[in-house]
Symmetry: C3
Subunit: 168 residues, 3 copies
Amino acid sequence: MGQSEPVSGYHISRQPTRPLLLTQWLPFMKSHTEYLSFTIPTRMGFLNITPTVEAIVAKTGIREGLLLCNAMHITASVFINDDESGLHEDYKKWLEQLAPFDASPQRYAHNRTGEDNADAHMKRQIMGREVVVAITNGKLDFGPWEQIFYGEFDGRRAKRVLVKVIGE
Amino acid sequence: MGQSEPVSGYHISRQPTRPLLLTQWLPFMKSHTEYLSFTIPTRMGFLNITPTVEAIVAKTGIREGLLLCNAMHITASVFINDDESGLHEDYKKWLEQLAPFDASPQRYAHNRTGEDNADAHMKRQIMGREVVVAITNGKLDFGPWEQIFYGEFDGRRAKRVLVKVIGE
Amino acid sequence: MGQSEPVSGYHISRQPTRPLLLTQWLPFMKSHTEYLSFTIPTRMGFLNITPTVEAIVAKTGIREGLLLCNAMHITASVFINDDESGLHEDYKKWLEQLAPFDASPQRYAHNRTGEDNADAHMKRQIMGREVVVAITNGKLDFGPWEQIFYGEFDGRRAKRVLVKVIGE
């Protein structure tokens, strides 16, 4: 969980679903939980995690339901937007204008604690903690350009993302 | 789906729920999915979609559960706030200050792609992609002033909204 | 519901779950709904409601599912971040910069209605209306620092928060 990994890699901690016997043929509610881990090598960065989330959905066998995907850390986000590098540069610049990095405790009282990441807590509020996505016919029910991103605002260390699917 | 429609109209694409037989008398999980389509005639605008969402909830027969309502496009929002025209004007002015429209690629790298809507991707992050609403006793479990809005930041073309209800 | 209470107190309105008979031994979907009420004595303030939400989860007996926690008022938020007083001061200062309080109708058209809280509707959009949290093994499935806050932007009166749990 805590091991450092490159931006393009991730670590999956599986929580096995309980074995389904006869009940798997009835529309009982099923659930499935996984934990992903990412280490973004820069302070701020965005990683497209859609293929990983799609693979989890396929594995669960859930046809109709809801998927929750959230950052488990409070200086990171999970959000849905476009996979376009120019837009990502724009987001970084824009977030830096709205909540500039400043390690000094003069601007941010939070940094009196010895932390330097008050700005990251604000950037995360703009970009959001979580997304909830419909599962329809066994797939993420997405519009044409929707992609799920992990958004990092205080990187260079491993952080976790939770994926939970409930449905039938 | 792709046809142009007025701001006050919408197009519903129904996905039929599977027929429920004996199982409808037991608290099995049910789900229901619908796709709405809206064409806002201006670049930015807000449309109260609460009556449409309420009608979907009533039709499903689901008494207890959760409803997801999300924009399927990444320059649009679904959010909950007040149906007051002055406030909507304030939101437009405020969002324009936080993320001004600028078609040039000098301000926004995204607009080097030939797009002119980088600002709309930012406005959408402020206002959010989705809402999750409790269904209690067969109805949207809302406080006194809560209303669901479709928020458009790059309009004048048809865009879709997904409504998914799960529950029993 | 409408009675005034101190920031450290809250009022719970219980909606009893239906009695579960034989079906409680099968993985049928269960749901549980509660309404909390808070009166923050200042215009803006944040209250850690995690212990209250944890107690609700424990009471439901739901092992695997999703929890929705949302403000039922449109000038308040429910969000997840750090329980650090310096950060909370930073949030207040930052939100005041992004959407300053101004009772006059010159800055905000909404205040022509006689209201003075247009800024609170904006602050709420930044901080969000709701959180959706995974329930795993009967508990809120949280990262190390995640805490749920009620965020008030137009306080000094009682407002409600909805907690809904679905799962099995």
